[in-house]
Symmetry: C2
Subunit: 418 residues, 2 copies
C-alpha cells in the first residue's frame, strides 16, 4: 500500500483538548479525527487496527460456539418499556422521535433487542444454549466525553448474550467466555487484570471486569499483592498498604481502564420480556442469561496507551496495521522508483507492506514512521544498488545494514513462514 493513498494526516501538535498520552498520540499519528465532542472518525490506520482486534474476537468466540449477528442501533421504545429501562435510564440514553412521533433510542446495549429476537424461538430446552454476539456501534451521551476513545459518545463494542436452561450451563459458558476474553486481550498485546465487581444497573448476580492497568484509567481498583486477588466490593474502604482480608497480603491500589466485562444477568430480561421455555421436566421457566462486552475502540486506545512514548508507538504483533514499513529516502528518480516498486511488490506477496512513496525529506518520513508504529522498518538508501538495506527491529530497538538475502530469511523467522 502506498502511503500517499492511505491518508495518514500526521500532526506536529496534538489538539488542545487532548489530555492523555494515547489521545495526543492517536491524533498526531493520524489515527483518529474528532467530529464533535466524544465522536470520532477512525482514519485508515486505526480502522486497520480495529479490524485486527475484531478478527481476534471473532476467532476466539467462534471457536467456542458463539454466532455472530448484527442488531440495529435504532431501538423502539416499546421494547424498552417491557424491560422497564426506558424510565430507568438517565440522560446517557440518546432518545429521538421518528417522523410519526414514535419514540426510539440509540442502543447503548442490546439486551432488549436480543431477547426480542430469540424469545419466540427458544420455546424448549432443546433450543438451548445459544450464544449470540455482534460487533456494532453503540451510543451513550456522556456528561463529560473525554480522553479520546476512552469515554466517547459513539463507540464500537462487541456485545455477546448467552441463553441457558439452568444456572450450571450459564456457569460453564461464563467460564468459557472468561477464557475467550483472556485470550483476546493477550493476543491484543494487553496486560489485563480481572476484577470482580458490582453489576450496576444491568442487574444480576456475578460480574467480572477486565482492566488494563494504566495511570490514565478512570476506575480505581484494589488488589492483593500476594495472591493477586482483586475484588472491589470486598475491598471497599481498604487503602493501599492495608492488610488483605483474604490471605493477609498487602492491598495495592491502582488505576485501570475497563476494556471488557462479563455479567451473569440471570432472569431479569427473560422475566420482564417474557422469554420462557419448556424445561426437561416439562415446566415453563424463564431462560437464564449472561452478557459479555468488549470495548473495541477503547481496546485500541488502551493498546496505544501501553505501547507508546510521547513521540512514538510500536503496535503489538497481532494489531499492527502493516507488517513492514518500507522507507525509500529518495523516491524521485524513475529508476529508483521502479526498483523500489519491484522490491515492494515481491514483499507484498508474503507481507502487508506500507511504502512511504511521498516526496518528503527523510527526517519527515522517519518521524511519521515512529508515530505510525509499524514494528519492522526497511530503509532504502544508497546501498540499495549494492543489494543492501537498513533493517530496523523496533521491538528490539536494533538497526542494522543487511543484504536482501539475509532480510528474506530474517523476515521468515520473524513471521514463522517457510
Amino acid at each position: 500500500m502506498k502511503q500517499s493513498l492511505l491518508f495518514v494526516p500526521t500532526l506536529k501538535e496534538a489538539p488542545k483538548d487532548a489530555e492523555v498520552k494515547s489521545h495526543k498520540l492517536m491524533a498526531r499519528a493520524g489515527l483518529i479525527k474528532q467530529t464533535s465532542a466524544g465522536v470520532y472518525t477512525y482514519l485508515p490506520l486505526a480502522q486497520r487496527v480495529l479490524r485486527n482486534i475484531e478478527k481476534i474476537i471473532r476467532e476466539e468466540l467462534d471457536a467456542r460456539g458463539c454466532s455472530e449477528m448484527l442488531m440495529p442501533a435504532l431501538q423502539p421504545r416499546d421494547l424498552w418499556d417491557e424491560s422497564g429501562r426506558w424510565d430507568q435510564y438517565g440522560p446517557e440514553l440518546m432518545r429521538l422521535k421518528d417522523r410519526k412521533e414514535r419514540d426510539f433510542c440509540l442502543g447503548p446495549t442490546h439486551e432488549e433487542i436480543v431477547t426480542h429476537a430469540v424469545r419466540d424461538y427458544i420455546n424448549s430446552y432443546k433450543k438451548l444454549p445459544l450464544a449470540l454476539y455482534q460487533i456494532q456501534t453503540k451510543f451513550r451521551d456522556e456528561m463529560r466525553p473525554r480522553f479520546g476513545l476512552m469515554r466517547g459518545r459513539e463507540f464500537i463494542m462487541k456485545d455477546l448474550y448467552t441463553f441457558h436452561e439452568n444456572q450450571e450451563d450459564l456457569d460453564v459458558w461464563y467460564q468459557s467466555m472468561k477464557e475467550a476474553y483472556t485470550a483476546v486481550f493477550k493476543r491484543s498485546g494487553l496486560e489485563t487484570r480481572i476484577v470482580s465487581s458490582d453489576t450496576g444497573q444491568i442487574g444480576g448476580d456475578e460480574a467480572d471486569e477486565f482492566m488494563v492497568m494504566s495511570e490514565v484509567g478512570e476506575d480505581t481498583i484494589s488488589y492483593c499483592m500476594s495472591c493477586s486477588y482483586a475484588a472491589n466490593q470486598e475491598f471497599s474502604g481498604l487503602k493501599e498498604g492495608d492488610a488483605c482480608p483474604r490471605c493477609g497480603g498487602t492491598i495495592k491500589t491502582a488505576k485501570g481502564i475497563e476494556v471488557g466485562n462479563i455479567f451473569k444477568l440471570g432472569t431479569k430480561y427473560s422475566v420482564s420480556m417474557n422469554a420462557y421455555f419448556t424445561s426437561r421436566e416439562g415446566k415453563r421457566e424463564p431462560v437464564i442469561m449472561g452478557c459479555y462486552g468488549i470495548g473495541i475502540s477503547r481496546t485500541l486506545m488502551a493498546s496505544v496507551e501501553q505501547h507508546s512514548t510521547d513521540d512514538s508507538l510500536v503496535w503489538p504483533e497481532e494489531l499492527t496495521p502493516f507488517d513492514l514499513h518500507v522507507i525509500p529516502v529518495n523516491y524521485r528518480d524513475q529508476e529508483v522508483i521502479d526498483n523500489v516498486d519491484a522490491f515492494v511488490k515481491r514483499l507484498e506477496m508474503d507481507y502487508r507492506v506500507l511504502v512511504d512513496d511521498r516526496d518528503e525529506r527523510a527526517g519527515v518520513k522517519f518521524k511519521d514512521a515512529d508515530l505510525i508504529g509499524v514494528p519492522y522498518r526497511i530503509v532504502i538508501g544508497k546501498d540499495f544498488k549494492d543489494g543492501k538495506v537498513e533493517f530496523f527491529d523496533r521491538y528490539e530497538g536494533v538497526k542494522e545494514v543487511i543484504d536482501l538475502e539475509s532480510l528474506e530469511s530474517r523476515l521468515k523467522t520473524l513471521y514463522n513462514k517457510d
Copy 2:
C-alpha cells in the same frame, strides 16, 4: 458449525406485512428479524452473507488504491449548516438533540464528515488523489418503509469518496470505480445494468446507477434492446416498443432495484465547506470530488430475490454462508454422532461446514435446508456405515449416492482445491 448453535429461526409462515418474495423468504429462512418498521436484525446466516459481500467490496476497492476508514453515525449540525443540507433535507433526515440541546443528525450519507476529515490535510496537489471508503450503518426515515431490506430506515452501505486535483483525474478514478462495481456485482452473482441518471439532491454532473432487473424493483428503467444503452434522462417520455433515439433499436421498459450508484460530485462540498488546495500552477482551487455507494443490505436482498423460488434459495458461490450442509438423518445414537462428528471435522479442515445436529425429522431438516440455501448438501443415511453418502448439487439439481473417496475428489474439483 453446529446448526443448533447457529440460531436459524426458520418459520412456516412469512410475516403478514411481507409483500415480496425475497422479504417473505428472508423472514422464513431465519435471515432477518424485524424490530420496528424498516429496522431489522441480521441473524447469523444473513450476517455471514453480509460479511462475504463486504469482503468482495474490500478486495475490489483495496486493489484499486482505496483506503477504508470508519466515520460516525452521529453528525453535528454545524457541518450540515456549512454544506446547506441541514435546511434542504426533508423529514427523511433523522434529527436529535444531545443532553446539551445541540443538534445532531444520523448520517444518511457522509459528504460533510469526509470533507471535514480531509480539508486540513489536502493543502497541496501532492496530497491528491485520495479515495476513502467505509462500510457503515446509515439512517433514512422513509415515509413508507417496505419490502424488507429494500427500503429500510436503518441499512448498511459502502460509501466511497474520492478527491482530485482536476476533472481528468476524477474521470480516471470514476472509470476505475465503475469497473470495481461491475466486478463486485458479478462476483456477488448479480446481473446488473448500468443506467445514467439524474443526480438528485446530492448535486453534480454525471451519475450512473447499477440496477438489478427485478419485478419488485421500485425504479422503472428504459433501455435499448439492440445496443443495451440505458439512460433514463434521454429516454424520459419513451414507452416500451418505441424506437431508440441512439441506434434505432427498440425501447424496453423494466423494473430495477438500485444496488449501487456513482456520482461525479464536482465542487459542491469543497466550495461550501472550504476544501481548497494549491494546484501545480500555484493557484488555490476547490478539490474535485466523486462519491460512490453500494447498498450492502439491499444487495443481500437483491441476491435472495434473484436466487430463490417461493420455498427455496441457493446462494451464489461467493455469498454462500457455508460451503457444505451436512444432514445426518439420524443424529441420536452415540455411535452415529461420533462418526458424523469425525467426518465433519475432516471436512472442516478445508470447507465451511454447517451440520444439522438437531433432533428433528428428516423432512423438517430438508425443508429448512432448502430455505437456508447452502449449494452443496451431503445427506448421511444408513449407507454411511458402508462409506456412502448422498451428494446433492443444488446448482445443478442433481442428487446421487457417492462413496467418500469420490466425494473428496468431487469437492476438490468444485472448489478448485488440490
